[in-house]
C-alpha cells in the first residue's frame, strides 16, 4: 500500500471515529426508560445533616445531561410548563427563587430536583406529579442544572433564542477579527465589503 493510501485511510478512519463520537450528543432518543425510573430511591437525601458518619446515596446519573437534544427539550418544557414565568426565562428568579445561582434550598442533585418538581416544596413550589410525565421531568432536571452550569459544557445551548439586552449586530467583515477576515478575492458574490 502506498504511504498516501495509508495516510488517507488513517484520515478517513479518524473522521469516522469523530462522527461516531459526536453521534451520542445529537442523538434523538424517542423510546427509552427515563433515567432514575428504577434507580430512584424511595427516600431521597435533601440535607447534608445526618447523625453520625455521612452515608451517601448512590449517585443517579441523569443521562439526559449528556444529550444536547434532551437539554434543548428541557428548555422548551421549561417555557411550556410556565417554569419560566416564576423562575425567569434564564433562571434568575422572580416569584420563585433563582435557579442559576449556587444556592439550592432543596438540593441540586438530579434526584433532589426530580422530587422538587414532582412533589412540590413547602414554600410555594407547585407539585407537578401526574401532570408532567417522568421522562419530561428528567429533561427539565437536566435543563435546570444546565442553567446553573452543573452539566457538561458541550451539551448546553450556545445562546438563548430569546430577547437579548441589545439588538445583535449582524456580522460583517468590519466587525470580524482580523484573522478571520476573508480576502476580497475569496468572497462569494454579494458578500458585504468592509
Amino acid at each position: 500500500m502506498s504511504s498516501r493510501f495509508r495516510k488517507a485511510r488513517a484520515v478517513w478512519g479518524l473522521v469516522a471515529l469523530g462522527l461516531f463520537a459526536a453521534c451520542d450528543r445529537e442523538e434523538r432518543r424517542f423510546r427509552e426508560i427515563p433515567p432514575g425510573a428504577t434507580a430512584l430511591p424511595a427516600v431521597t437525601q435533601n440535607d447534608a445533616n445526618q447523625p453520625g458518619p455521612f452515608i451517601r446515596d448512590p449517585e443517579i446519573r441523569n443521562t439526559y445531561e449528556e444529550n444536547a437534544w434532551a437539554i434543548s427539550e428541557g428548555n422548551w418544557l421549561y417555557t411550556q410548563w410556565n417554569c419560566a414565568g416564576c423562575h425567569s426565562p434564564r433562571g434568575g428568579g422572580g416569584m420563585g427563587p433563582p435557579l442559576m445561582d449556587s444556592l439550592w434550598i432543596y438540593g441540586s442533585e438530579p434526584e433532589n430536583l426530580f422530587q422538587t418538581i414532582v412533589e412540590g416544596r413547602p414554600n410555594g413550589m407547585p407539585a407537578f406529579r401526574g401532570r408532567i410525565g417522568n421522562a419530561d421531568v428528567w429533561k427539565l432536571v437536566a435543563y435546570v442544572r444546565s442553567l446553573a452550569a452543573l452539566t457538561p459544557m458541550d451539551t448546553r445551548s450556545g445562546r438563548t433564542d430569546d430577547i437579548h439586552a441589545t439588538t445583535p449586530t449582524p456580522q460583517t467583515d468590519a466587525n470580524l477579527p482580523m484573522a478571520r477576515r476573508i480576502p476580497p478575492e475569496q468572497r462569494p458574490p454579494g458578500m458585504e465589503a468592509p
Binding site: 410548563w81 414565568g85 434568575g92 422572580g94 416569584m95 442559576m100 410555594g124 430577547i163 439588538t167
Partner: protein
C-alpha cells in the same frame, strides 16, 4: 394656618414678584442650614429642583364631607379622598432639621414592607408582610411597648403564587375592629382592644393563582377588599364584606357578564365605547375573560356626598396582547360604584386593550378645583401610562390628560372619544422584540401613592423613570402558574435616574419642582400642615423636603431601603410623630427581597434589568422608625 399670599387677587405682577423674591430669600436663609453631607445627597442627578411659583393655594380644596387625618391616622390613605395629608404643623420647614429618632420596632420580617401603620387614639397597628402578623403598640408608654399581637394561621404555599414579593399595604380600622388581608386570601377582623379574632374568611384560592395584598377600605359598614394575580390569569374582583359578620355583601367581578360585574340600570358610562351588553365578555376572545385579570389590589377612594367608591382594575391577562384581541373590558380602568350594592355608576378605561401591563389600580385623589374657570368635582390620577388625568368624578368624563413622564407607548389621549391613542410602532408582537417601550411595565407610577396638600394646592408624586424591551411569546394557561406570554428587560429611562418625586400643580397642569433619585421612588409620600413632604428611597434615605420648593430639609439613613408609606400622628403626649417602615422589596426590590440573580435582566418580570445594582445599596430589613422633635 396661614397661607403664603401669592394669590393673584387684586395685586399687580410687580408686587407678586417682590413678594416671591422676598419669600425665596427668606426660605434660603431660614430653611437652609448646613446641608446634609455630600455622601448623603450623592445620588446621580440629586435634588434637581426646578422652582417656579407654586400654585395659588385655596383653589384646590377637599370635597365636602372629607376631613383629613388630624391626630390619628385612621387608614393608610389618610382619608377617604386619599390625600395622605395631615394638618399637624408642629413639625415645619424651620424645625424639621431637628427631627430625631424616638423609637423603633422590628416586626421580625425581612420581606418588602409596603405597608402603612395606622394610629387610632393611643394605639398604633401595623401589619407585617406575609405571614401577615398584626401588632398593636401602646403609644401611651415610652418606647411604645407591644399591647398584643395577632398571628393568623397561614398557608406557606401562597408564596409560590405571589408575583411581587409578599407585601401587605396596611390595615384598616372601623368600629372597634382592625381589618387586614393576608397573602393566602384571608380577610381578618380583630378586636382593636385586645387582639382577639372576631371573624376570618377565605375569599380566594392559591391554586387559581390568587393572593391578596391590598389595604382594605371600610365604607358604611362594609369592608372592601380585592384580589391579586393578574400575572397568573386570575379573574379579578372587588368584594364587600359585612364588617360585623364577614359575610359577602356583594362581589363585583372585573370581567365577564354584566350580572357578575354588577352593571345594571344605574350604569351610565360617559363614553360610547363603554356602553353595551356584556362587554366584559364581548371584548374578549371566547372564554378568555375567565383568565382575564383585572384584579383589584390598589387604592380605593370614597366621596361621601356623591356616595361613590372609586377603584381601579389591574392589567388584562396574559401580558401578550396578541393573545386577547378586543378592548378587554373591564381591565386597566376605573369603576365608580355604589358602596351599598356594588352597582356600577360609571367606568373609564385608562388603557383599552392594554399592551404593557399598565394596571389601572393607582390612587384617585378627590379634590374640587377650577377647570376652565369653573370649579369642578374631580379626581386626580397619576396613571401608570404616564398621563396625569383629571376626571369629573360624578360622570367619568376626562377633563384633561397631561403627560408627566417620557412616553413612547402612546401619542396622547383623545379627549373627544376619551381613548388613549397607542403608538403603532411600539405594539408588542409574538416572536418579535420591541425596544424602548416607555413607560415600562411598572409605569410612570406604580402602586406607590402620592399625597396632596390643600395648603400648597400641589400633588406630590413618587415616580418611576423606566423603559423596557419586550418580546411576545406563546402563553399557556395552567391554573396557579404565570400566564404571561412576554419576556421583558427594563432599564432606566432618559436621564439615567430611575425615579424620584415631583410636585404637580393640578390647575396649571405642570410640574413645579422635581427631585431625581437613583432608584424608583417606590415609597408613599406624606404631606403635612407644616409644609413638609416626607418620602423614602430604596437606597435607605428617609427624606423631608420643603413642600413648596422641594428643597431637602432633613434626611435619615435607615438600615434597609424604604418602600413603605410614611404617616404622621399626634401622640398622647401632644407631640407630632412621623413613622415609616424600612425593608426594601416589592416588585422593584425583589432582587434583594427574594435574593434573585442580579445578572439575569429578565428576572422578576424584567425589573431586575433595571435594578441589578440594588444589592450594592441595601440588604433586606423590616423595622419601623418613629421620629419627633426633641
Amino acid at each position: 394656618m396661614s397661607f403664603v399670599s401669592l394669590s393673584l387677587s387684586n395685586r399687580g405682577p410687580r408686587h407678586i414678584l417682590a413678594v416671591a423674591a422676598l419669600a425665596v430669600v427668606v426660605l434660603a436663609l431660614g430653611g437652609c442650614r448646613e446641608r446634609p453631607s455630600a455622601h448623603a445627597s450623592a445620588a446621580p442627578g440629586a435634588d434637581t429642583v426646578d422652582a417656579r411659583p407654586a400654585a395659588a393655594p385655596g383653589q384646590v380644596t377637599l370635597p365636602a364631607g372629607i376631613t383629613p387625618a388630624a391626630g390619628d391616622w385612621p387608614m393608610p390613605s389618610g382619608d377617604f379622598a386619599n390625600t395622605r395629608f395631615s394638618p399637624l404643623d408642629q413639625i415645619d420647614t424651620a424645625n424639621v432639621r431637628d427631627l430625631r429618632l424616638v423609637w423603633t420596632f422590628s416586626d421580625g420580617n425581612k420581606q418588602g414592607h409596603e405597608s402603612a401603620p395606622i394610629v387610632i387614639g393611643s394605639t398604633m397597628y401595623v401589619v407585617s408582610p406575609f405571614p401577615n402578623y398584626l401588632f398593636a403598640l401602646d403609644l401611651t408608654r415610652p418606647g411604645a411597648p407591644l399591647k398584643w399581637s395577632y398571628k393568623p394561621p397561614y398557608l406557606s404555599a401562597a408564596k409560590g403564587v405571589a408575583c411581587c414579593d409578599w407585601v401587605n399595604r396596611g390595615p384598616a380600622y372601623a368600629d372597634g375592629r382592625v381589618f387586614f388581608t393576608t397573602l393566602d386570601n384571608q380577610v381578618v377582623a380583630v378586636d382593636a382592644e385586645d387582639g382577639t379574632e372576631v371573624w376570618r374568611v377565605r375569599l380566594g384560592d392559591i391554586n387559581r393563582g390568587e393572593t391578596m395584598t391590598m389595604a382594605p377600605l371600610v365604607v358604611k359598614g362594609k369592608v372592601l377588599v380585592g384580589n391579586s394575580g393578574g400575572e397568573l390569569g386570575v379573574r379579578g374582583w372587588l368584594t364587600a364584606l359585612d364588617a360585623e359578620t364577614g359575610r359577602i355583601a356583594w362581589r363585583a367581578y372585573s370581567t365577564g357578564p354584566d350580572s357578575e360585574v354588577l352593571i345594571g340600570p344605574s350604569f351610565k358610562p360617559f363614553y360610547p365605547q363603554d356602553r353595551g351588553k356584556d362587554l366584559g365578555v364581548q371584548s374578549w376572545p371566547p372564554e378568555a375573560w375567565k383568565m382575564g385579570g383585572g384584579t383589584v389590589w390598589g387604592w380605593i377612594s370614597y366621596d361621601p356626598t356623591l356616595d361613590l367608591v372609586y377603584y381601579g382594575t389591574a392589567n388584562p391577562g396574559p401580558w401578550n396582547p396578541e393573545l386577547r384581541p378586543g378592548d378587554n373590558k373591564w381591565t386597566s380602568g376605573t369603576f365608580a360604584r355604589d358602596p351599598d350594592t356594588g352597582e356600577a355608576r360609571w367606568f373609564y378605561q385608562w388603557s383599552p386593550h392594554d399592551l404593557y401591563d399598565h394596571d389601572g389600580v393607582n390612587e384617585h385623589v378627590l379634590v374640587d378645583l377650577p377647570v376652565d374657570g369653573r370649579t369642578r368635582s374631580v379626581l386626580l390620577r397619576p396613571e401608570r401610562n404616564g398621563y396625569m388625568y383629571v376626571l369629573d368624578r360624578a360622570t367619568g368624563e376626562v377633563l384633561s390628560a397631561t403627560p408627566f413622564a417620557h412616553i413612547t407607548t402612546s401619542l396622547g389621549v383623545d379627549l373627544r372619544t376619551g381613548r388613549l391613542i397607542p403608538n403603532p410602532a411600539k405594539v408588542p408582537k409574538t416572536g418579535k422584540v420591541v425596544r424602548e417601550i416607555c413607560p415600562a411595565a411598572p409605569g410612570a407610577k406604580d402602586w406607590q401613592p402620592s399625597a396632596l396638600s390643600p395648603r400648597t394646592g400641589l400633588l406630590y408624586v413618587p415616580f418611576n423613570n423606566l423603559c423596557m424591551d419586550m418580546q411576545g411569546t406563546q402563553a399557556n394557561y395552567i391554573a396557579g402558574t404565570p400566564y404571561l406570554g412576554a419576556i421583558t428587560i427594563m432599564y432606566a429611562g432618559p436621564g439615567g435616574h430611575r425615579g424620584g418625586v415631583f410636585a404637580w400643580d393640578p390647575v396649571a397642569r405642570r410640574k413645579v419642582w422635581s427631585i431625581d433619585e437613583r432608584f424608583p421612588a417606590w415609597s408613599g409620600v406624606l404631606a403635612t400642615g407644616g409644609d413638609v413632604v416626607f418620602y423614602g428611597t430604596m437606597d435607605r434615605w428617609f427624606k423631608a423636603v420643603h413642600a413648596r420648593t422641594g428643597e431637602l430639609l432633613w434626611q435619615f439613613r435607615t438600615a434597609s431601603g424604604i418602600v413603605g408609606q410614611p404617616i404622621t400622628f399626634r401622640g398622647p403626649d401632644g407631640k407630632q410623630y412621623v413613622a415609616i417602615f424600612d425593608g426594601v422589596g416589592g416588585w422593584a426590590g425583589a432582587v434583594v427581597a427574594n435574593q434573585l440573580s442580579a445578572s439575569d435582566s429578565t428576572a422578576a418580570l424584567g425589573f431586575v434589568g433595571a435594578m441589578n445594582d440594588l444589592k450594592q445599596y441595601t440588604e433586606q430589613g423590616g423595622t419601623l422608625y418613629v421620629f419627633a422633635l426633641p
